[in-house]
């Protein structure tokens, strides 16, 4: 399933930045502030909610398929091999009672990180598993959805809170690592993603529900 970003100005620079797997500061918009008009379309809130719901719905399947495609013992010993304790993952310490602005910023950080990590994972799997078409398709779709989600969050942050700059930290690049480390890193990120996306969906939905 493809999601077209609901109507945001195409922030090319922003999206390019989000693909960069390095730590840095993501510029939400070019220039020194939010554009005065034409930033968000009417259904952006609803579409954001759906995008999060969709990611939440597909995360576990993506993780399972990823494990299956890496060979043994990834499927049987995912707990040990994919323990995300050793990797960086953005903290997500918001809950339903958190302020909406705080939630939106945390979401932005989370999905910016995920977008970059998914890009790395996709690239590694294209190299390691070029025949695993389904996995690659799911990775591509998930990456596209996070990209659209980032655009929508960008627009909501700018429109509602006039936030146009958020500090984002990205994970380590897997480039140059051994094949096993690439597999393991992807596994660790996706496992954490499965855990966090569920929490994000629960937290975000009340804030995006039509009032």
């Amino acid at each position: 399933m493809k999601f077209v970003p609901a109507g945001v100005v195409p922030f090319v620079a922003l999206l390019l930045l989000q693909r960069r797997p390095v730590a840095g500061r993501a510029l939400l918009v070019t220039g020194s502030g939010c554009p005065s008009h034409g930033l968000c379309r009417s259904n952006v809130q609803e579409q954001t909610r759906r995008q999060v719901a969709m990611l939440n719905a597909t995360a576990q399947e993506l993780f399972s398929l990823y494990l299956k495609c890496q060979g043994e013992p990834f499927s049987s010993e995912a707990d040990k091999l994919c323990n995300p304790a050793g990797i960086f993952f953005p903290t997500f310490r918001v809950n339903r009672t958190s302020e909406r602005k705080e939630v939106m910023v945390a979401m932005y950080k989370l999905f910016a990180f995920l977008n970059a990590s998914l890009g790395n994972i996709t690239r590694d799997q294209e190299e390691l598993n070029p025949m695993a078409k389904e996995l690659l398709e799911r990775l591509h779709n998930t990456t596209k959805t996070t990209r659209g989600l980032i655009s929508n969050l960008t627009c909501l942050l700018c429109k509602n809170y006039n936030i146009f700059q958020v500090d984002v930290r990205y994970g380590d690049s897997s480039k140059g690592k051994s094949a096993f480390k690439k597999k393991q890193q992807g596994c660790q990120v996706l496992r954490k993603y499965v855990q966090v996306i569920g929490q994000a969906a629960r937290v975000l939905l009340p804030h995006l529900s039509p009032s």
Binding site: Q70, E72, F74, L128, M131, A179, F180, Q184
Partner: protein
Amino acid sequence: MWESSSLRCLLALAILCLRSLVYSQEIGSLGDPQNLKCVTHNLHKMLCTWDVSSRGRRGQTDFCYATNDLTPQVCFKTKERRVEIPVPESSITVTIKSPGTAFATKEFVIHQKDISFVPATPHILSLTPDFPTSTLNLKWSDNGLVFPYGLDALWQIQILRKEAMEEVTQVTYYSKLTHEDIILSWNWTSDMPLECTSHYVKIRCYINATQFVGPKDWSDWSPAEVIPGKDTEPGGSGVFPLDTVVAVGSDVTFCCVHEEDQRITNMTYGSKSYTMMQLSSRSHAIRVLNASASNSSGTNVVCRLENGMDGSVVFVGYAPDIPQNLSCETSNFLIIKCTWKPGRPSGLYGERKTKYSLFERISSKNVSCEVNEMNRDRVCGFPVLPDQKTYDFVLDVSNPIGQAQSSLLVDITQRVHPKTPEKLTVIGNNSTSIQLRWFINGSFAGIRLLCQIEIISGHSEKKLQNVSMTGGKSSSYTAQLNELHPNTNYQFRVRCSAADHFWRWSDWSRGVDQTTSEAPPSRGPDIWRERSPSGESLKVFWKPLSLSEANGKIVSHEVSCFLLETLLEHKVVTEPSNSTEIKLGKSDCIISVVAKNHAGSSPPSRITSVELPSDNVTTDQAVAMGNGINISWDSYPDMTCGYTVKWCRSSGSEPCIVDWQKFPSNTTNAVIKSALFKPGVRYNFSLYGCKSTGYQLLKNITGYMKELPPKTAPNFIVEETSSDSILVKWEDIPVEECRGFLKGYLLSFAKGEKDALKPRLSESGNPELKVNNITDLTKKSMKILDLQGKTSYQLELQAYTAGGLSPPNSLYVVTKEDSVGLIIAILIPVAVVVLLGVLASIFCYRKREWIKETFYPEIPNPENSKALQFQRNICEGNKTLKTLEMNPCTPNSVEVVETQSTAPKIEDTEMMSPAAETTVPEDGSDSEMENHVVVSYCPPIIEEEISNPPMDGPGGSSQVVYIDIQSMYQPQIKPEEEPDIDLVTTAGYKPQMQLSISALKMEGRSPVEEELDKTTGYRPQANTSTWNMGTPDSPGSVESNNENASFGSPCSINSRQFLLPPKDDEDSPKPINTGWSFTHFFQNKPND
């Protein structure tokens, strides 16, 4: 380490010195220089050493040597006991004068054979590891400069592993010295990753100087060079090798290097655990034998430590297969496209995938091929080089496991596969020709092109037309197509190839449609004519022209009628009519029909209206053979202009749609085919012969495309029936319903009642079924004979054709009764009965004495009396005959009423007393009194009578009611049978115990009554007054003194007189009654 090496060197030197001593020639005495030994390392200089006593060890030694007598002696002083002097060609004389002793001078003669040759210790220049391939590269110098050219050198290399320096392998490397210092290189691939543990390398040499006659030996080992393992690095850890690629079937060693304080639990390859070998305190290894192909993401090797996991991936695949079916061609003379099949998949992907490169030997040009792993066919492009027609391609294939190649030599001008022609258009058009133009992208300037044009039209088969043309550079090409049909829609498409050296056709271009313009019809229409039944008008028919003949859309037909060049009538009939009527009267003319379209008129078609008389026209039958109706005729020599077969296309009652077909005069048969012909429909054909003067009807033919069974059953009726025959008549089936030529009828009959559920006769399996096949179609009736009278018969009639049987029509007929037979059947039994009766009467009459004596003697003997037995049997209703026993029989009273013409109703009455008998009825009728008799009777008989009441009417018969005498009530009967009791009548035999009371008092009766008695049936024939009434067992009747009881003797209820009077009846009392009873016939024996 270095200390150890130095020590070794010193030790080696000492050994050499000792050996020199062994070979040196001792020429002095004790205390003098002795044990002179010489060793050479390079065959030019030799090192000589000697021993001296302790007295001569201080100060300088004078050392002189001379190689031969001709050369002057060379002397020099030395403080050491070793000198380096040239290696002599044969021998050398050495003089050594020790210090401090004037006479301690020694002279030695050293021959070449006494000199040892030990090469200098080799020096390892470099030892380089390649970790991904686990390969060590060793480099050293051969020091060849000091040796003569061409000496063989042997190098012994030792590989050691682990801290304990366990020898792994020792190899000997061979080289030839070239009188130059050459750096030699040697690679060794370890079966264990170099990271797993430290590896050491040492080298020594042996130079085979064949012309040197002295002893030769290996050099000393070089100091060991080491490649330290990861287990020696602080913090070094991991699973090795990393991301290695190995061939399927290889044996691979994996090791896990960890920290000193970590404990390894196990190691797995894929999902399988392997036994570990300890390499060091920080390194363990497993060995996987015969590795199988891994999946695309490789096989994981995992090392499990107490506090974590580490791993590596190994990719196990195949070396590339030799490319198959390598083929190169060009589509545009700009790029040569080479294709091949990769063969067996390597199983390696991503950066490990198989790589292809195309090398052209003539031009030495190489291109790298980007291929899609997913395609079965691989494609690689190579640019066409100017002025080069022949290409010698080598396709190199490689992956981390191996490489392969395939080659192909091609002349590119013979491998032209043009691209698909584009922009196909029609640029010129008339009724019979079209000009096409198309474009081909490519530079074909040097060759000729052959293009093929496919022409498809609606009414003809696909045609291909080849056109050859000079090739151009990305240019358009044109072609003219002629001999096309007017007004025809064509579809064209084009493909091209090289004309001179055909290789492959291009793909077909996109098709274009074009319709040619119209032209006048190519011929006149096929025409026919028919006179109207009245003969006043002529109807002209024509068939539409085919598309190929019409050359356009026919808009009208012009019909003209000429009589000797004079136009009698002219008509223009517009489409879509295909006939017209011309009023001719009785005259004739020549009819001309012309078809017209927008482009012009067809040539005229002509036919004469004259119809020649014909006689003896026969009608034949014809049935389709195959897909048409075959019609044949005799040859008619005078039919000069052919024959015409005409028929109606329509069927049945539809109006006739005339169709016809013309045949040349030499034809004698034709198969008439039409898609409109239906099976089971009769078609009438007429054959006309054509003469110069007109047409003549020759014969008629009726035919079927296929014969079917008649649709309906024939109607039939029964015209007449008798007791043994039925005359059946039927009607013809209408032609439309015959659906074939009628062959006959099947008349089936069998006995049978009308029953709706009965199956058809033919299906019933009735064994009495008879079938008459009537093949004479003129016969319309049939008489069925030999039937039984008054019997129901089922008749079925079916018609049949060659196609089968019609449905049956059924009738049920009952034959008449056979009256004569019936009469005979009745009369014969009656006659027989009468005859038997007469015979019995005669017999009885003649034997009456015997009968009387037997059955009714004067004094009945109960033991012998059959009559009594009979009577008793009746009373008891049972079993064997016995002598008369009176007790069991309890008489009942029976009231007998004899009906005369008035049929008075008999009422159940009580047993009438004599007093009652005397009671005169109101009407005073005596006859009624006569009929009212009460007798004693036995109940069982009564019951029989009741249970079998006669069905005849009461007229002329007596009604009998049996009443229990003792109980004085009627025998018990069922209530529902009660009414019948009144109707009980006794038309025939009556119980003879019934005795009229009045008859016992005859004396008191009037003559009239007597006369009446005589005439009113039978009376008991016994003289009751003479009967013995004092039988002790006789039942005490109600009135025991009454003499009317006639127990023990049968008597007629009506009889009053013996039928046959006894011969000697003078003594017997005369019977008073004059009635007759059959039983009295036997009783009437006097004195019996």
